[in-house]
Structures are given as structure tokens and as C-alpha cells.
């Protein structure tokens, strides 16, 4: 009789502790690179994507701790969890799960008072005749653009590109969309409406939570993050966060369709590790 009671108690304790473990708040460490306004230690709730990650975590019952590190160190570390564009990290690291949570896009900006007519870019030919500012080290297909007659001017900082553009020393600037808007607001807040952004649709890329292959409970955590993301999309929280940062520009991206596309593309869980 005593043995049966003891066995029953033991089973009850095991069941209770298992239940508690299930309900215990998971704490996850995630590395990010300072890249305002997407991820930033100096912005409330870590910037736009940081805020999405915290909202996803809250809906999922997870505490996410975002730590800021240099991008090079994040790429070289092959055992950490990362936040960012998966393509940067997948070459050197295997992941248990990848959950795209935000999107970003590049844009070409111009300063309207320097141009008599509206600039329309539908193909590379439309860039002919303009001096295009880009960041040093980002030009890949150099020969192709040269043979197409496109002239690039490389700069070490985005800020100097916008200053040159306003002075008319270059005609266009190619940068990440929200980064460009942020620079304009910092440098020329009164002139914001004079800067025009042309979205480059093909540049759309995801920003994701990447869980390291050997991270404890990575699959459970991945499932929870995914459920949390779906919850904040359904209850409107996601839309509200995006709108606060981009003023509704994300709606032009067909963002939900794009986010689902990247979920399938990076769907490691269904396909096995790459």
C-alpha cells in the first residue's frame, strides 16, 4: 500500500514539474548588429524589428534578450542565435530554425528641387546620365553597369552621400529605404518632402530570428516564436508597429505575401538542415 502511495506521489510530482517546466518562461539570447531604425540599442524596445521581436516574444511567452555585437563577430560566431538578414549568417553556420519577422527594401532617393522633371526608373537604362551615390564596397556587377553607361560615385558614409546629393554633386543615392528617411530627418528635417524615394522592388529581403542548430530547445522555441508572430499579425499589433516606423510604406510591399514567401524559402524545419 505504502509503495503504491509513494509511486502515485512520485508520478504526481513528475507530472506537476513537467507542467511547470512547460509553462516556465523561456529566456532566449539573441545577437543583433546596431542598424537603426531596424535594430538599435538606443531606440525604445530596440528599434522597429526589435519591437516586433519583443511583441512576438510576449505573445509566445518567451523573454528575448537582445545583445549588440559587431556584424563581423556575429558572422564568424557559428554557435550563437542571430537577428538579421539570414543570407549574412547561413554561409558559416547551421541553424535549427529561421523565422522571418520583418522585411526591408532598398530605394533610390533624389532631391526634387535639383531636377525639373520627376525621375522614373523602370530599367537600368533609366539610370544613364545620372551620377549615382553608393556606399564604398557595395558595387558587385561593375563591368555590367559600366557597359550600360551607369556612373557610380562611391562614399564611405551615407550621410555624406545625402549632403552631396543636396548640393547637386550627385543625382541619386542608393540606400536602405528607412535608413535613407532617417538620415534625411537628421540632416534636413525641414526639407524632408523635397526628397523622393523610388522603391527597388527586387531588393526586398527578410530580417529574421535565427536559432543556432545546437541551441537548447531550439525547435520548441522556434514553434513558439512562429505562433507568437501569427498572433500579433492577426490581432493587428504587427501592423501597428510597422505603421509607427514607416508610415504605412510596408503596405506597398504586399508584406504578408512576401513574409510568407521568405518563410517557405527559409523553411529549414520542413526540409531538414541545408
Amino acid at each position: 500500500m505504502l509503495t503504491r502511495i509513494m509511486t502515485g506521489l512520485l508520478l504526481l510530482m513528475t507530472w506537476v514539474s513537467a507542467g511547470l517546466a512547460q509553462d516556465a518562461v523561456l529566456s532566449v539570447d539573441l545577437d543583433a548588429n546596431e542598424s537603426s531604425p531596424y535594430w538599435s540599442a538606443s531606440m525604445p524596445l530596440d528599434g522597429m524589428c526589435g519591437e516586433v521581436v519583443h511583441a512576438v516574444s510576449e505573445a509566445a511567452g518567451i523573454t528575448s534578450n537582445i545583445q549588440y555585437k559587431p556584424l563581423k563577430r556575429m558572422i564568424e560566431d557559428d554557435s550563437n542565435n542571430d537577428l538579421g538578414n539570414p543570407e549574412f549568417f547561413m554561409v558559416n553556420q547551421e541553424f535549427a530554425d529561421i523565422i522571418p519577422v520583418c522585411l526591408y527594401q532598398a530605394a533610390i532617393f533624389y532631391y526634387a528641387p535639383n531636377h525639373k522633371e520627376k525621375i522614373i526608373l523602370q530599367s537600368i537604362d533609366d539610370l544613364k546620365g545620372y551620377r549615382v551615390g553608393i556606399l564604398t564596397g557595395t558595387l558587385v556587377d561593375r563591368s555590367y553597369f559600366e557597359s550600360a553607361g551607369v556612373v557610380f560615385e562611391e562614399s564611405y558614409s551615407r550621410e555624406s552621400m545625402f549632403k552631396k546629393m543636396k548640393l547637386g554633386r550627385i543625382d541619386l543615392c542608393l540606400v536602405i529605404d528607412l535608413v535613407g528617411h532617417q538620415i534625411i530627418n537628421q540632416l534636413f528635417p525641414e526639407q524632408h518632402d523635397n526628397f523622393v524615394a523610388i522603391q527597388l522592388v527586387k531588393s526586398t529581403a527578410p530580417l529574421a530570428i535565427l536559432l543556432a542548430k545546437d541551441y537548447p530547445q531550439a525547435e520548441v522555441i522556434g514553434d513558439k516564436y512562429r505562433q507568437g508572430l501569427n498572433r500579433i499579425i492577426q490581432n493587428g499589433t504587427y501592423e501597428e508597429i510597422m505603421r509607427r516606423y514607416d508610415g504605412g510604406a510596408h503596405t506597398q510591399l504586399d508584406w504578408l505575401k512576401q513574409l510568407r514567401h521568405f518563410e517557405r524559402l527559409y523553411g529549414i524545419r520542413e526540409a531538414g538542415n541545408p
Binding site: 542598424s35 556584424l71 558572422i75 564568424e76 557559428d78 539570414p86 543570407e87 549574412f88 547561413m90 554561409v91 558559416n92 547551421e94 532598398a106 526608373l121 523602370q122 530599367s123 537600368i124 539610370l127 553608393i134 556606399l135 564604398t136 564596397g137 557595395t138 558595387l139 558587385v140 556587377d141 561593375r142 563591368s143 555590367y144 553597369f145 557610380f152 551615407r158 542608393l174 540606400v175 536602405i176 527597388l200 522592388v201 527586387k202 531588393s203 517557405r264 524559402l265 527559409y266 529549414i268 526540409a271 541545408p274
Partner: protein, 288 residues
């Protein structure tokens, strides 16, 4: 698996790699990379695995294979762009799920059913070398040209690589991606792996700098691997474009412009032959 590489060629490769480390200007990861694909609205895409230094958005003009294919596309009047991806699975996703015009790569391990819908056009023939870890083999590791001489060892095969010859020779096989294979060699999980030397050294310099000097290659070349552009018959333009690109590549080999591009990226001399092999004969076969 007869040796096709001389000591002089190996020396050229080593010098070339050193030169590349000094003069290459990889694209920064913090800004949008300025590629042809960025402006490719409504253009067909050719998806491929990032394969530095031959094909990568970190290289000027995307590396030699990218420039060769872009030139061939131009000659053939095909308006398409190359998109690179970090893992093979993504390349297959675009082919199988999104009906892409074409993909590029090697070791793709596509099913025989899928292969019926594909047309393989060779773009480069690459010499691979066996990498091993010197601290595990302080007296060196070599092979006779017959895989049986490596019996009892463990071979690191690329995901999708046909490693049956190794298994038949009594060699255990483990599969992984190239960078992972190098890490497995260092940890002792595998003894050796066949990798194009420029790729192996590029990855070691970028991701395993501190350990790079501990790696060595066996003197005798491992094997030749063909890098293909693979057109999709299910895509409306796939079949016609395959034949046009074959002819364009053939013309580039004949008129020397193919070799010029290799020379621009990798240098002159025997190195050119190491990346062309019997490409001309392979390209001579018409698309069926």
C-alpha cells in the same frame, strides 16, 4: 582519376590565391549590394549557390563564372539575371517550387524524374584537391590515384555529391556543406574532403583564419567536377535558351573571350586550363 595538374600549376594557384587576398575588394555586408538583379523587374532569374571566389556577390563582377555566364547571356540575347543564395536547398526551391528559368551549380543530387525536365550545359570544369589537417597527419597524407589507398579513412562529401566510389573503396562517408566540411576536418570527424583549392583557401581565410595554416592539400588532384547551368524545360523559354547559351559559350571558348575573363579574375598561364579542362568537347554536344 589521373593527375592532370602539375607542380607548376599548383604553385600558380598558391600565388594566385595570395594575390587575390591582397587585391580583392569584397562587397560590404552593411549596404545594399549593387547587382544587376536589383534592377531586374520582370526578368527571368538564374538561381545559384554562393561559390566564392568563382561566383559570389562578394567578388567584383560576381566572380569569373558569374561574368562568363552574364556575357554568354548577353551574346545569346537572353535578358536574365543571376541570383546567388547561401544554401543549395534555396536554389532547388526556386527550381522546383517557383519554376525558375535555370539554376547553376554542382552536386545538386536531383531525382531522375526531375532530371528529365532539365537541360545541363557545362560552364566550367574544376579541379578539386583533397584537403586534410596537418596536426592529425604530421607526416602528411597522400593517395596513389586509387581510392583504395585511403581505405579505412572518412571522406567528407558535399551534400548531394555522389560518393559511391569512396564507399566501394572502403572509405566511410559523411556529408556536409563546404565550410562545415573544413570544420569537420579540423575536429577529426572526417579525414579529408575534395574542394577546389581557391574555394577552400578563400573559406579558410575568411572563416577559419587562425587555423588556416594547419590545412594542407594532397599533392595529387582529387577529381574534376563540372559546374553546370541547368535549364528548366517546364519554363516556357527553358529549352530554346539552353541551346542559345550553349552556342554562346562555345563561341566564347573559341574566340578566347572565355579565357580572357578567367585571366582577368584568376591570372594567366596553366590556371586557365585548370578551370576549363575538356569544356570545349563537353560544349560540343548539342542540346537534345
Amino acid at each position: 582519376m589521373k593527375p592532370i595538374i602539375s607542380k607548376q600549376a599548383l604553385l600558380s594557384l598558391s600565388l594566385l590565391l595570395l594575390g587575390m587576398m591582397l587585391i580583392s575588394s569584397p562587397a560590404s555586408a552593411t549596404g545594399p549590394r549593387v547587382t544587376k538583379a536589383l534592377f531586374a523587374i520582370d526578368k527571368s532569374e538564374i538561381h545559384t549557390l554562393d561559390f566564392p571566389p568563382y561566383l559570389s556577390s562578394e567578388m567584383v563582377d560576381g566572380g569569373p563564372i558569374s561574368e562568363i555566364v552574364n556575357k554568354a547571356l548577353q551574346h545569346a540575347g537572353i535578358d536574365a539575371v543571376i541570383s546567388t543564395h547561401p544554401v543549395q536547398r534555396m536554389v532547388k526551391y526556386y527550381l522546383l517550387q517557383e519554376n525558375a528559368l535555370a539554376i547553376m551549380g554542382r552536386h545538386l543530387n536531383l531525382s531522375s524524374e526531375t532530371r528529365k525536365d532539365l537541360i545541363y550545359i557545362p560552364v566550367a570544369v574544376m579541379t578539386e584537391m583533397f584537403y586534410y589537417y596537418k596536426p592529425r597527419y604530421p607526416n602528411g597524407l597522400s593517395w596513389s590515384g586509387k581510392l583504395e589507398s585511403l581505405k579505412g579513412k572518412t571522406y567528407g562529401a558535399h551534400k548531394g555529391e555522389d560518393a559511391s566510389a569512396y564507399q566501394h573503396a572502403g572509405i566511410a562517408v559523411k556529408q556536409a556543406r563546404t565550410i562545415k566540411l573544413l570544420k569537420m576536418i579540423a575536429s577529426g570527424e572526417v579525414d579529408f574532403a575534395a574542394i577546389p583549392p581557391l574555394t577552400g583557401n578563400w573559406l579558410l581565410s575568411k572563416y577559419m583564419t587562425a587555423d588556416k595554416e594547419n590545412f594542407a592539400v594532397m599533392q595529387r588532384p582529387a577529381q574534376n567536377e563540372v559546374f553546370y547551368i541547368i535549364f528548366n524545360r517546364k519554363h516556357a523559354d527553358g529549352e530554346g535558351m539552353a541551346e542559345r547559351i550553349r552556342k554562346a559559350l562555345m563561341k566564347m571558348v573559341d574566340d578566347g573571350s572565355y579565357a580572357e575573363i578567367v585571366k582577368k579574375h584568376l591570372g594567366a598561364g596553366e590556371v586557365i586550363n585548370l578551370h576549363m579542362g575538356d569544356l570545349k568537347e563537353r560544349l560540343g554536344i548539342k542540346v537534345k
